[in-house]
Symmetry: C2
Subunit: 234 residues, 2 copies
């Protein structure tokens, strides 16, 4: 403990966003998602503002927005931290992923065209490429892109913000957990999903999505000890 805040806040994109606001939000969001900010350490508005070279205003708004997405906690004393989620909560987040994502996939299915299937195949290749490079972070981001692209085809968008919130809450913990794993077994559930889409088989699509999510979960055999380690180290 008592180490310098050393997360890099990967500002890949310049400040040519519409709002600085939005840029700060996206920067912090991906930073949390990729586990660059350790759970438990306090985030200060002024500190982040200085690091990002903006005033405190955009940081305040970004942090509040992240708080209402459950990506960060605001404690009683108004300190902002990335929460360390309990194993129970971790499992519940996965349950909700299955519940919402199978639902979203089924509703999106009628809207997925042949052209879009091709794009999905490309996205899937990026997932495989990242994982075979051993780049877990890009891998899970690419995996999210694959899932997001499916669900987004539904013109009625209600689930997506909720699913994004689930991903965001899982992000930091998943990152820590995955970093302690030697082998990452990759079953190709995406292939099953693509076949289900091409055959317009909504039930098969649900099964493929569920299996894909469960495969992801099955990697975390050690969440309990990891939780214990993280909790005691803070």
């Amino acid at each position: 403990m008592k180490e310098k805040k050393s997360y890099s806040l990967s500002l890949a994109n310049k400040k040519d966003f519409n709002n600085i606001n939005e840029w700060v939000y996206q920067t912090l969001r991906t930073s949390i998602m990729c586990g660059e900010i350790r759970p438990g350490v306090a985030l200060t508005i002024r500190g982040l503002a200085e690091k990002l070279d903006v005033s405190s205003m955009p940081v305040r708004e970004a942090l509040r927005r992240l708080a209402s997405e459950s990506a960060v906690d605001i404690t009683d004393s108004r300190r902002v931290i990335v929460p360390l989620i309990s194993p129970d909560k971790f499992k519940e987040l996965y349950s909700l992923r299955i519940l919402l994502e199978t639902h979203a996939a089924e509703l999106a299915l009628p809207y997925i065209s042949e052209k879009q299937v091709e794009h999905l195949i490309m996205l899937d290749k990026e997932v495989d490429a990242s994982y075979s490079d051993g780049d877990i972070v890009s891998g899970s981001l690419a995996n999210q892109a694959f899932h997001r692209y499916i669900y987004k085809q539904n013109p009625v968008q209600v689930c997506m913000p909720m699913i994004e919130s689930l991903w965001l809450q899982l992000g930091p913990f998943a990152r820590v957990a995955l970093s302690k794993i030697e082998k990452y077994y990759e079953y190709d559930r995406h292939q099953e999903a693509l076949e289900a889409i091409q055959q317009r088989d909504s039930f098969a699509l649900r099964r493929a999505i569920e299996a894909d999510i469960r495969d992801g979960l099955s990697v975390f055999k050690n969440i309990d000890e990891i939780y214990h380690d993280l909790k005691s180290s803070e």
Copy 2:
């Protein structure tokens, strides 16, 4: 069209909240939930700030928070409006209510004690009282309180923010739709839910919750025409 903004912004509670921030948020939230703000009209930060007698700062943050809960839309030109949801979206919101609330109820069941069942019975009486008084707004708020009390017993809280978001999105439209209805058929699904809880029958509880939500939906036979009316009047 072109009428004065005449919603009352029911400030039942004084500014003895922790933050003015929070007070503004709650005030705007209930105002939207109860349909006091007409869908489509632009909300201005300065206008709300003046009406609530605070600076623009808390209003800005409250509006952004509401935006990330999908309670308001921020248009491309950065104007904030309460969205008018389409009939398709309305139905999807109800689907998600069923999906998430049956799930939440099932998970909460093991944690509901006898004492808490008594409290639920009291909450149910308040629902009945409001509806028999013909007070639809208090009725649906009381109904929410009943459901919320059940789901909140689960110590692992992940669904609740999502469910609250669904209620919030349905609020303004439901209010308009209900105001055009003469008779409101009230089946007592709450009674069924209470019995299921007492018998620890999770499947029966799921059915009761689902039936309760479906009953609520069945009232809106006329959503399509109401949507059309609202859309053309703006």
